[in-house]
Symmetry: C2
Amino acid sequence: MTDGFEIPPSLSVKGNETIAKEILSRIWGKKGVFTCTVGNTLTSTIPGVSDAGDTPELTLFTGPADAELLVLGKTVCMKGIPINPGGIPTPGTLTIAALNLSGMPRHIINAGCKVVPNIPFYDVGGTYGESITTGKAVKDPELLFERGKVLGELFAKDNNYLIVSESIAGGTTTAMATMMAMGVMRENLVSSSSPKNPKELKTKLVNSALETAGIKIGDCAKDPLRAVGCVGDPMIAVNAGMIVGAAKHVPVIVGGGTQMAAVIAVAVAMDESVVGNIFQGTTRWLVNDPNSDIEKIMAGIHKDVPIVYVNMDYSKSPYEGLQAYEWGYIKEGVGCGGSSVAAIIASAGKLTCEDILDEVHRLYRQILGIE
Amino acid sequence: MTDGFEIPPSLSVKGNETIAKEILSRIWGKKGVFTCTVGNTLTSTIPGVSDAGDTPELTLFTGPADAELLVLGKTVCMKGIPINPGGIPTPGTLTIAALNLSGMPRHIINAGCKVVPNIPFYDVGGTYGESITTGKAVKDPELLFERGKVLGELFAKDNNYLIVSESIAGGTTTAMATMMAMGVMRENLVSSSSPKNPKELKTKLVNSALETAGIKIGDCAKDPLRAVGCVGDPMIAVNAGMIVGAAKHVPVIVGGGTQMAAVIAVAVAMDESVVGNIFQGTTRWLVNDPNSDIEKIMAGIHKDVPIVYVNMDYSKSPYEGLQAYEWGYIKEGVGCGGSSVAAIIASAGKLTCEDILDEVHRLYRQILGIE
C-alpha cells in the first residue's frame, strides 16, 4: 500500500516508519482540520517553572494570547504577542504561516483558562488547573476526556484528518508528572521552552506532587485519568479524549512535543485501538533537543506511534528572535510542528520548509511592524 | 448564469426568485456546514408565551436539549426529547434526518444559556437573556455580534456555505420586539409553535417592553444592536454577526422562521452588503401558516432576501406526533427547514422530501423506542 511512497526532504521520521508511511499515504494531498487546545495550570506560576511569559504571572496569558493570535491575527488579552524573555516570538507564528499556506480551518478549544481568550472558542466545561503540588490538579478529568471524545468525533465527521495541539504554559511539568504517575516515563526526559531546562526544579516539583497525591511511579498505569486529575492539566484530558474520539474514524496528527507525548500516553492507555491511526507531528528542534529525549519518551509509551517532524531551520533567518530557535529556545508549541507537517501533507509534498519560512518572515514583519 | 437552472419539486421559492436561483446555482451539489445557535431568554418563562416545553420553566431546557440531541443523538439535561404539550417532537428530529442524509458537519453555538448544554459547544462570551419586559434583555449585544462575526469568518474559511439557525424558546416574542423597535415590522406578524398563537399576549408584552425601554416603533432603524440589547435575545445578536462575517465570503442559508427574520433584519441593517449572498431557508409549514406572515415580514426587511422552503409534508405519516405539524404545531425551529434545504442542495436535488421523511420516521422510532 505504501510501496513507492517517498517522504519528501521537508519531513523526517523517527520510530515505526512503516506505520508513519502508511498513515501519510492515506492522507497525502488531503486537507485536515487544525485544532489548538489552550488552558492554564497554576503550576506555571511557580517561579522558575515556565519561561513562556515575561514573569510567572504572565505565563497565564500565553495560551489565551496564542489562541487570539490564531483566530484574530492579533492579541487582545495582552499587548503584543506572546514572547519568551529575550523577545523570542511564540511558535504560533510558524503555526499561522502553515495554516495560511494550507488554507486549513482552525478551531480553538478552551480546556480551562483563568485568563479567558477574547474570541469564540469551543467550551468543554473545563476550569483552569491547580498547581500539581496540590495533588488535585484537574477537576473532573473524566468529564473533560468525555467532552474531548465527543468533539473528536464531531471533527472526524467531515474532515480527512484531525490535528490536535496545545498552548499551556507549565505544561512540560504537568506532562512529566502525568507520565511518571503512569510509569511510561521514569526519569525526567521532558523538554522546556528555555535552553536552560530547569530540570532539577521540575523533578523536585513532580516528586513532591506525586507524594502529596499518594501516587508512586507507575501507580496510574491503568488509570490515566487519575494521573491527570492529580498531577496533570486540563489540556491533557481534553486532547486525549479528542484523539480517542477522532482516531476511530480518521488519522490524527498529535502536534507537539513532550506535552503531547503525555496526551498520547493517556489516549493509548484509555483506548489502545488508536495506535496505527495516529502519529506525533513535531519539529526538528524538538527532536534534536540535547536536553530532552522525545524518542525515548515515545518508545516508553508505545512502539507503534511514530514521530513525523518538519525540518524547519531558522539558522539563516535575518531575525535574531527566530534564530534563537536554533539555540534551543521554544522548539515547539501551539501545534507549530503538527500544522507544518499537515501543510506539507496537504500540498502532497510540494510545499517546502523554505516556502514556510518565507511566510513566517512575512508574518514576523507584519506582527512586529517591521518594514 | 442561472439559465437552465431548475428548482426541484422538493423546494419552492417566495420573494426574489432570480437571486434565489443565482445563489442556489453557485452552491448546487456542494456541502455546507450547519450551525445551530441556542440560548435562553427569561421571556419564555412568562406563562402563556411559549409552548416549547411542558411548563413555562421547562422552556429553558428546550434549546439546550435540542443542542444535546444534535450532537449526542440523545438529551442529557432533561429526560426524553424536547416536546410541545401533546407529545409533538422537536423539529430537531427533521434537522438530524437532514444532517444524517447529507453528512454535513454540525456545530452548536451557545449564545447564552441558563441551562448549559452537556456537550462541547462554541462559547461566544454570552449570558442568558433577561425578560424583554425589563427593557434590558441582552447584556453587551455588541460583543455577541462581534464574536459572531469572527465565528462566521472562521466557518467561511473552509466551507462552501454556512447554515445558521436557532433554538431558543420565547424567541418569536423577542424577534417581534426587535423588529418593531427597528420598524421593519409594525404589527404582530410572527409565528408560534402552537396553532393557537397567543397574539394578544405577545403584543401586550412587546408594547410594554418597548415602553419600558423608551423605544418607539422604528426608533432603532439605524441602531439594531440597541433593539437587541433592550428587547431582543442573545441568539439574534450572535447569528446576525455570523451572517455578516460569513456572507462576505460564502453564501449563508438563514435557517428558520420569524425568529431568523429578526436575525436577517439586524444583519442587513448592520451591513447591507450581505444581500445577494443570503436567503432564508425554511419549511412549507411556516410559509403556509395562516397565523403568521413570513412573506410580509421579509418584504418589510429587504426585497432581495428570498425565501427558499422545503415542501416537507407529514400528512401521511403514521405518527400523530408528526401529523401535528400539518395541524399548525411547531412549523420551524432547530434549523429544520434550513438543514433540509441544504441537504437537497448538497445532493444537487437528487434527495427528495420522501427520502427525508423516511429518515425522520427511522429516527422517530429510534428516539421514541418504537419498534
